[in-house]
Symmetry: D2
Subunit: 178 residues, 4 copies
């Protein structure tokens, strides 16, 4: 899906933030990256997340306002019925949303999640879980992002969860950067 | 907080489901456990969750409609600033809510989360994270539960997240029990 | 936007439920209307909603899995700063989501909202508010829908709120149909 | 329930913000009103809300961090089955949460809802609907509040909805005060 770490599912200029919303092309969603090295910034921050490594998650794609994270399914991240645990889905979906937001933030800003809601649409079974986040609206302080989570199995992909999150840009707080 | 696996923060009969809601004492919240062995049932299901073991979470208390899970803070579950990752908080908060719901469900029923929302109220720093869930309303098919998540440090406890979840009772679906 | 009560923003067959999700074309979202007279069914149910008439809301478009509701802005539906009240936005966004779900449900089924979350992205100022709902995933019992809410002003349209809702299909409950 | 506009369901000092959370007594929830005239400030702002008057809602109680709003049930605020519309419940629940937050904010600050989630627990039938909000955590910029919504009928009260909302303190934005 992504050969070089940049998302290439669609040319970025052609991705409407939400399908039928002309309103979101332009003023509402700034697609300008927050800094020239947004990709390096996201990769470097992701590498510091102990939890992502513990879960076996990898960052598979980054573009301004779009981030994709993959997770190999395994007993170590299961719930009691053997499906991938809702908490593991939430962790990568939230992380993807956070970095989609961070990719649009100016240098020197850190990102924190203030809330998210996630709906679970079916059991997460398959070989691989993919979380695809995009920014719905980027504001100066608060950003809204959404993440779709898919379970992939033998070339088949099924939407299993849908998250919306509010991300906050944090400046000048000790210990919080990127 | 809990010496024998049963929650003893307060005698269960005296815990109002929500502080000032007389309406919730009685018809709205059934405090009758779903089965005589509700505690064994919850413990046995929890033990099957690979993710809880991977995160280092332990089940510290169970009473009908109330469940408490603890997590030792560690770099392996951190986000990029060193705080405990929102995904790890969500995982134990969701699991606690699910088992609080399951403790009131009849035998032969499995529990699945259909959605949750979680608000993050401050950085999760400290020695230990505690998630305390209680059922707000138990229905035949859907149950609403809430979980408060605290970060504990040197005897101090701070509310760092608040979750509400909808849990679904599932009967007769292959592979889904408890 | 809609000349004859049927939504014609895009031919329905071409609307991906979510932009980049091939997974949602087909099995996940049934675009088959729940009954041949889905449009009449939705209009007739909408007409029974006292609140929609009190708020001045009108049903401007219906297609299987898609519903659009409009609201004329007015002091009668304002909050304290003169913007359209978050509660009025929520009311039409929830109603649009509910009818998008109902349009796909079999005859004899009623629809109830079990939960929704709504994010507010900017002040709702303008001449007209439009709520556009679409089904994300239709299940036998639970359906997930999302609604985008726009404030329109002098030909300009701005996304001001984003809702996701769980709708429940209810059968055989007295007083609950359509 | 409230004779003089001040909430007197319980002496305020004795209301734990959440039942079993010692952590919330003290640092986490400031019970200090935001200004000496917090009650007048809330009443005056409420009176400017066209929607509350249109719905027939009244402000029945105010204490620092706690607000109660009532609604007389009527066909004008119903949904299609004759129950009080989820949108009307949401409108008063959100408004109560907003004013509970505002009561703790310093003078010159306005309040806006950034998001809320509401779960519906049963049909809202009865004579009167009551929304009771309390602040869970008050921060400098963001406040978390929760609202329980009850349907009252012949002296009986039933929890029908549960909301959590994030409220934002806004300073120096034109047109936004109280």
């Amino acid at each position: 899906m992504c050969c070089n770490g940049r998302l290439n599912w669609q040319p970025i200029a052609d991705i409407p933030a939400l399908c039928h919303s002309a309103a979101m092309d332009g003023a509402d969603v700034s697609r300008a990256p927050g800094s020239g090295d947004f990709e390096k910034r996201v990769r470097s921050s992701f590498a510091k997340q102990g939890l992502m490594s513990t879960l076996g998650a990898t960052l598979v794609g980054i573009s301004p306002g779009l981030v994709e994270i993959a997770l190999r399914t395994a007993p170590a991240i299961s719930q009691q019925h053997g499906f991938t645990h809702a908490g593991a889905l939430s962790a990568i979906a939230d992380t993807a949303a956070g970095y989609a937001a961070l990719s649009l933030m100016p240098p020197g800003t850190g990102v924190l999640t203030t809330e998210f809601k996630i709906n679970f649409l079916g059991p997460a079974v398959g070989d691989r879980i993919i979380a695809r986040a995009k920014v719905v609206k980027a504001g100066r302080t608060l950003t809204l992002a959404q993440t779709e989570v898919f379970a992939e199995s033998a070339g088949n992909s099924k939407l299993v969860a849908f998250l919306t999150a509010t991300l906050m840009a944090v400046e000048g707080r000790e210990g919080v950067s990127d």
